[in-house]
Amino acid sequence: MKTRMARSGVAALAAVTLISIAACSPPAKSTDTSSAGGVKASTATSATDLGGMAALVDAAKKEGTLNVIALPPDWANYGEIIKGFQAKYGLKVNSAQPDASSADEIAAAKNLKGQSKAPDVFDLGAAVANANTAMFTPYKVATFNDIPAQLKDATGLGVSDYGGYMSIGYDAGKVPAPKTVADLLKPAYKGKVALNGDPTKAGSAFSGVVMAALNQGGTADDISKGVDFFASLKKAGNFLPVDPTGATIESGQTPVVFDWDYLNVAQGKKLTGKMNWKTVVPAGAVVGGYYVQAISKDAPHPAAARLWEEYLYSDEGQNLFLKGGARPVREAAMVTAGTIDKAAHDALPKAVGTPVFLTKAQNDKANGYLTANWAKAIG
């Protein structure tokens, strides 16, 4: 999974091997097709530039292939999305290194630059996306206006596609239902509360600390109360410093887990019948985190890459994210238009309160505070 930090040497070795094998692959053929409008696919910033959706589909079909990277099939329903795209447009999707991290995606694009195996599109954590906009090319999908302003770059240079809210997943058969973050300090949760990763490394854990801060009266500008909360959790003996995975949840080692709601919900679905794994978004402490979609400026299949974006942001693509438990970025607009998959939308955990998204400045400030204080707080 993308947030998993501990990677074995074997995996790293495999990645290196993959890259070195890929390095031997032939250079990209010039698949850049000029459209009727005379604009090259590689510089088109919208389907209209290429002469409309039909022209884009034609150009993409001519390229025949799309390279994606770091899309685990069980993550936000990407398995089904890739199948849907292939079936609808008849393109072949090469899915490389599904378990790679956001940083690995950028590294692969740099290492494979100019080759036919280079990734066409990225799906990145917000921090990595912000730091690498020089690798992207701007593109606005047909539904661009539906996307909330704080979740997109105004020029289309990196746009959020799906995301979720920070949540607490818990084994209802083992622990009482927590209503607020502070409930977790009670003795019933002794040695049971785990955070998905180290907040100085993993985006999900970082947002878990922000959620705790909001619940404890802190703000997005000052997350110190969140760190203090984990320090008291540790002092109470409730903090379990285990990196939770599907396996630790299933075996009962991590009965309470801070993680994105779509991951906790997916976990609950997987464990149906074995364990009553429930997900709650604490009221008044809604922290949003969205992944960012971008087209590589060196994409070997520029038209296919643009068609992929159109598909992801279409009602069909957005509803497929929703089916995987993730919140599609066009959620609000689709609710208004009545095009949202209602059953899937109702199944999402209820969130009470305005979702908080950290700005870049707030992120940087929080990171600085965590770097200096996290190890101390839980050491």
């Binding site: 040497g9 180290d198 985006g203 379990l240 285990v242 770097t371 996290w374």
Partner: protein, 293 residues
């Protein structure tokens, strides 16, 4: 007295063939040791835009990095001492068994396997045994003992236990030859001159075994100091030891652009290991001289 090493060194002409023979070895060390070390050292003095800087080195004084260095050194030292003491006792016990006997052969091969047992598998073995849902934890709960808690995931308890687990067998393997080097005749000689067991260990066995013992302990120190995978699998919060801090600088998706601080930390590790290796080399020379090998 033994001759000094220099007079024993061959002064003859080396045939070209012998040099050719070691070429693969040089190529190997260049690729896997020299070049990575160079990358680390150069990177430690460059900023994100490849301009020279001392910023990475001054970043090493950040309290969490200083504390990680201290934790690493203390953890390695404690497990090296524990491993050395218990491993040495075990080695002595094994050396008293019949040479070529089943006990001796079993012990050495078991230790050969256990000394290499590490990483995710070892961490998982401990979690499955004494973790909060481990079978031993459950079994002991039935008889009224409570192992539960998060101690296994703390560096000063869990890591010490798990590291000692692979240090003891490693000590047995590296120390057994030295114990076997003790000739029974020396003991008989000491006894026939009226020496007690204490006198023997104080004046004969102890001084002979001391250099290899300390040398093996230094080896155990570096063994623990450089271990990464076991700790990474066991400890997911706070990166309390330096290899985990370095891992964090490379894999973090939250705080970006600190790869070169990681290289500076790696250089710090190289410096510490270099000190230990120097000590080891000095000791090794003395041991060789004393044992007259």
């Amino acid at each position: 007295m033994a001759k000094s090493p220099s007079t024993r060194a061959s002064t003859g002409h080396k045939p070209v063939g012998a040099l050719l023979g070691v070429l693969p070895f040089f190529a190997y060390t260049a690729i896997f040791l020299a070049i990575p070390t160079l990358i680390v050292v150069v990177g430690a003095f460059l900023d994100g835009n490849s301009r020279p800087t001392l910023g990475n080195l001054s970043a090493l004084t950040q309290p969490q990095i200083v504390s990680a260095f201290i934790h690493s050194v203390v953890l390695s030292a404690v497990t090296a001492v524990l491993g050395a003491v218990f491993g040495a006792l075990l080695a002595y016990a094994v050396s008293t068994a019949r040479e070529g006997g089943a006990l001796r052969r079993t012990m050495t091969s078991v230790c050969g396997v256990l000394a290499q047992f590490g990483g995710v598998t070892l961490a998982f073995a401990f979690m499955a045994t004494v973790g909060s849902e481990g079978f031993l934890t459950h079994w002991l709960k039935n008889v009224g003992m409570d192992l539960a808690g998060t101690w296994l995931y703390e560096p000063d308890k869990g890591l010490v236990l798990v590291y000692t687990y692979f240090q003891i067998p490693l000590m047995l393997i590296v120390f057994l030859p030295a114990v076997e080097g003790l000739r029974p005749q020396w003991r008989e000689a000491a006894e026939s001159l009226g020496g007690s067991t204490w006198d023997y260990w104080r004046h004969v066995g102890g001084p002979i075994l001391a250099p290899p013992f300390i040398g093996a302990m230094l080896l155990l120190f570096t063994n623990a100091f450089s271990a990464y995978a076991t700790a990474a699998a066991l400890i997911s919060q706070g990166s309390p030891i330096i290899p985990l801090q370095i891992g964090g600088t490379l894999s973090s998706e939250v705080i970006l652009g600190q790869e070169n601080i990681g290289k500076a930390m790696a250089m710090g590790m190289v410096v510490i290991v270099a000190v230990v290796m120097t000590l080891y080399a000095v000791l090794e020379r003395r041991t060789t001289r004393w044992l007259g090998r």
